[in-house]
């Protein structure tokens, strides 16, 4: 047998790769997408080489895009200046509220009061690689367990909820987005916080779900936020309703939701620890 292996090195190597792949597939299925020590170690090594390449690509892409999108950047700059001026006015009011907050914190400390929802830390990360070669919606970021990121953490972007962490290691983490068929999210209406629904399917890049109360009337354009039930913290923008229809077969009010985030052009995300 050893002689056969020596004489057929390529085929032996291929058989080895197939056996390793099959065993990793079995462990991957058993752990529902989370990796083991071997896969995380390999990913850490690959991530070490991929990160500089992704950084270079990101820098070049930003500079090139900056040259070609000069007008839109100028318009966005003017809009941000106006927003900044408004925020500066708000800061003055918040300073007064900050003093009141400090008094409240001192009072709660004196009374030994523990808040139900502790403050969460946020870690920023860059998108390093996307699964753009197939229809799954998974990407890899350049931060991992060294920053405290773990499986199940929520991932957000400036516009809203992106998805959740499915696997993390040193220097990397994999994120599955809301528009992947394996994702689901519980939401409520921003205008009526008692109305709760669940989005558990994807159709043409939009999320599809249903409302728990089928008798309510919905309007297109209504904004949705996370309900806090499940793995995502409450109050994060999910998207807007584009279509709602009562399904006679399932007796449910189904909704089609346009996500708040543009998943294809994600470059930077934040992870809520």
């Amino acid at each position: 047998m050893m002689r056969w292996i020596r004489e057929h090195k390529l085929i032996s190597s291929l058989l080895l790769v197939i056996i390793v792949t099959f065993s990793l597939l079995v462990t991957s299925i058993a752990s529902a997408g989370s990796g083991n020590l071997v896969t995380r170690g390999i990913n850490s090594v690959v991530s070490f080489f991929v990160k500089p390449v992704a950084n270079v690509g990101g820098t070049v892409s930003d500079n090139v895009n900056g040259i070609f999108s000069y007008r839109s950047i100028m318009a966005e700059n003017n809009k941000l200046k106006e927003e900044n001026a408004k925020l500066k006015k708000q800061v003055v009011n918040l300073t007064l509220a900050d003093n009141q907050l400090k008094e409240l914190q001192e009072l709660s400390k004196a009374l030994n009061y523990t808040a139900e929802t502790p403050e969460r830390e946020i870690v920023s990360a860059d998108v390093v690689a996307m699964s753009g070669t197939d229809w799954t919606n998974i990407f890899t970021i350049n931060c991992g367990t060294e920053k405290g990121i773990k499986t199940g953490d929520a991932v957000i972007a400036g516009e809203g909820l992106v998805g959740r962490i499915i696997d993390a290691g040193k220097g990397w983490a994999k994120v599955v987005t809301l528009v992947d068929q394996n994702s689901s999210v519980s939401f409520k209406l921003k205008g009526n916080l008692e109305m709760i629904g669940i989005a558990n399917e994807v159709e043409d890049g939009k999320m599809k779900g249903f409302m728990l109360d089928s008798s309510i009337k919905l309007e297109n354009g209504e904004q949705l936020i996370t309900s806090g039930m499940g793995m995502f913290p409450s109050g994060i923008d999910v998207g807007t309703i584009t279509k709602s229809k009562y399904d006679k077969d399932s007796h449910l009010l189904t909704v089609l939701i346009k996500p708040a985030v543009d998943f294809k052009s994600l470059q930077k995300v934040s992870v809520i620890l």
Binding site: I18, A54, G57, T133, W135
Partner: protein
């Protein structure tokens, strides 16, 4: 082509794949460079095992780094390369236009195998989403396969001797 050269070029394509995600418009799918390289290589070259091995190794690395379940992309890539070995028996591998057939068949086998395996493992994805993705991506693979075929076939050309009068002096 030697195995070391195949692995080196595949590694380059792996990094190029990552860069492409940064440069291509957000609405476009990203072409699978490693898929195009290994299917055209297996189609053009006589010894296919090195190409199958490269497909297995880089499919595994890609699965580990980006996919949810390891092994789906690897299996699909190996199946696509294996389909090229079958295709060679039916069409002429020395004609450049055969690379178009190679790209279409290889892409279809890859996507269909990937979908079958993911359906068996996760049971989530519908065939209509898969086929829409295939239609958007295959034309990029055709262009790539054409270019890769051109460069790989140049290695196989036996250069005409220009010194034929040398022995008649």
């Amino acid at each position: 082509m030697k195995l070391s050269k195949i692995l080196l070029i595949s590694l380059g394509f792996f990094f190029l794949q990552i860069l492409m995600g940064k440069f291509l418009p957000s609405a476009m799918p990203i072409p699978n460079l490693i898929l195009c390289f290994v299917i055209v290589g297996a189609f053009v070259e006589d010894d296919p095992w090195a190409w199958v091995l490269a497909a297995g190794i880089f499919g595994l690395i890609r699965d580990l780094f980006i996919s949810m379940n390891v092994g789906l992309g690897t299996g699909a890539l190996i199946a696509a390369v294996a389909s090229m070995l079958l295709l060679k028996k039916f069409i002429n591998s020395e004609h450049m236009l055969s690379s178009i057939v190679c790209a279409i068949v290889g892409s279809f086998v890859y996507i269909f195998t990937f979908w079958l395996l993911s359906k068996a493992v996760m049971g989530a994805y519908g065939i209509s989403d898969v086929m829409k993705f295939f239609v958007l991506q295959v034309w990029m693979h055709i262009v790539l396969a054409f270019g890769i075929y051109y460069f790989l076939s140049r290695n196989r050309i036996i250069q005409r001797r220009n010194d034929r009068y040398r022995y008649y002096r």
